[in-house]
Amino acid sequence: MEVTSDKFIPLTEAALQDDKLQSALKQLSGRLAAGRTKGVADLPEFDQLRTEARDIKNHTLQHLDLYLEAFEERVVEQGGKVHWAADESEAREIIYQLCESVEAKRVTKSKSMVTEEIDLVPYLESKGIEAVETDLGEYIIQLRGEKPSHIVAPAVHLSKEQVSETFFVHHKKLGFNEKIDDRGALVAEARQVLRDKFLAADVGISGANFLVAETGTIVLVTNEGNAELTTALPNTHIVVTGIEKVVPTLEDASTFIRLLARSALGADISAYTSFITGPKHREDGDGPENFHVVLIDNGRSEMLGSEFQEMLRCIRCSACLNHCPVYLSVGGHAYGSVYNGPMGAVLTPQLATLEGSKHLANASSLCGRCESVCPVMIPLPKLLRLWRDKEAEEKLNPMGMRWGLKAWAWLGRQPGLYRLTTGVANWVLYRWPNRRGGFIHKLPALAGAWTEHRDLRQPEQGTFSQQYRRNGGKRV
């Protein structure tokens, strides 16, 4: 997984100055978070479903080896094949070999975060295979050479003018000579271009929202119908997914379907929810002859039995992104990882390295909105704190910060000295000359780092202890 999270700080600064991005993020929070609030209000049983979903995932993870074996057995019975990949390079190689085995020249792909995680499309293209993203948002960013900025709405950072420009540049060679700025017309143009890709593809690659152990079924959820065309038209269908996606039964999958679209955008269900079981059956009108499932570990098994196990419940709904004040201020690209927002800040250090992504866990006020909207009740703030602990344990935070905190902790254990120090600080700050309306605008030395970006409230006269004594221990 390509991660540039070490550039988080300069990228956030750029993001905050980017007016187009800021207006796109405003749209996002207005539409998705508001949609979710309404969708949840419409379903009185929502919280009960969340509790059950959490329990189903916990049970499944506790028996993950057996459910994966059961799933594999069902897939094989249907005439499909299951491949296991320990890491991303093995996964890419397996998928490439499967494409090679059917002499594939053209591949269509529906939206899948796991294929982003393993950088699949660039790899296939480097091997001379044309691989086209068919989700509209993914297609747009593929043309632009960008990464998704949101796990459900990958092109949310772009305006329709930017999409129009992109289509104009890339579709000219296909005979589209006019620049259009109507959203409906842009969608229609993409439909026309991609329809030809669907019909010509040798292999269709999809992810999976869920795997059903009972039947060997993979579940795919889209609004566009691109997953259906990707998986139905080519003669070979390859599913690429993580080992944590399995659930026991169709009934269990149903509970997650009730939660997924509601958590993402407030809808009770997406336009298309496909349950795909094996290759074309004898009674089927059409469908692929070859069906492969590539199950990817890539750091997931390591999370089992660890303090991060709960993160494996994640169903990639994006509710935590849509409600995160940090994500909504800086957007997805600043995180420098295909997984962003609170879930990405927890997952990225696990899938890449903590050293390269240590800023992510710190970029949170731990306000708790993410946990409160998570459909599988992942305690995201707790997990972010755990990464901060690890950062300190491994001494990855700056030396000044470590010594500063140590000094502060020492001071806190010397009550007399603490009172004296805070008393002096209070005396000085109360009389600080450079202030207006109860706020101090500029401080020297170390404290200047605070006033460089924000004002400091002028303290009251006397520390809490001094005031307490002054009032004889009584309320004012």
């Binding site: 796109a24 749209q27 998705l32 379903l43 009185p44 049983e45 009960q48 479903l49 080896d65 059961a70 296991w84 990949a85 509209l136 948002g137 747009i140 709405a153 990958p154 092109a155 772009l158 305006s159 329709k160 999409v163 959203r183 969608v187 439909r191 991609l194 329809r195 609004n223 566009e224 119908g225 691109n226 259906e228 065309l229 139905a232 080992i243 169709l250 009934e251 269990d252 149903s254 509970t255 009730r258 009770d268 269900i269 336009a271 298309y272 929810t273 496909s274 349950f275 795909i276 079981t277 094996g278 074309k280 059956h281 089927d284 009108g285 059409d286 469908g287 570990d297 098994s301 039995g305």
Partner: protein
Amino acid sequence: MSRESILSAVRSRLGVSTTDQTRQQTIQSRLTAHRQNTRPAVGNLAGSERVSQFIASATAKGAEVTRLKNLDEVASYLLASLPKGSHISLTAAASQTGLQLPETEIDVWTKKTSLENCLSTCFGAIAESGSLVVRSDGGNSLTQNFLADRHFVLLPVEDILDSMESVWDRVRGTGGMPRDLTLVSGPSSTGDIEMRMEKGAHGPRELHILILGDLVLKDEVAES
């Protein structure tokens, strides 16, 4: 291949062994019991309430829902909905219903797939979410379900089930899962440009659901 190493990593992280029979029994009983989780009240309706819920929910998702008494009314509906001289492909299942379309007014294809208009049948529908249940078998096909601009679907009123759970019961009672079973909930749409919904991303731009059967539903029919 990494199958064994992944499975053994999972087992060692969980602190379990392959010889533990109780774990195996736990998952076997879980997989065969088909225990239902909480089914929302809206997924538990019967009779005319169920039909109304289906119509309201499918309509809210942008589907055109019409109740028709018989196949003659279906023919009139199709003729009224399609421009003169257009063509429509009927899936094998749709052509076996006995529907008669005047071929002087409309081009009917039963052997090839039309990218404009298609009439198919379905496995049933779900009232809770206003979804049609379409399958790759039973005389219909995936390409016919998903490629046409306008998709017309015949839905006998008694096939409107209350919830996904009832669909699974019916699937298990009729030979199991096909290659593809899709819950279609409204026409194809995308919100990928500036978060505004646009219809007709890749699948049908229009979804017409033609509910066939008595307008006044008998409760015993709905209980099925």
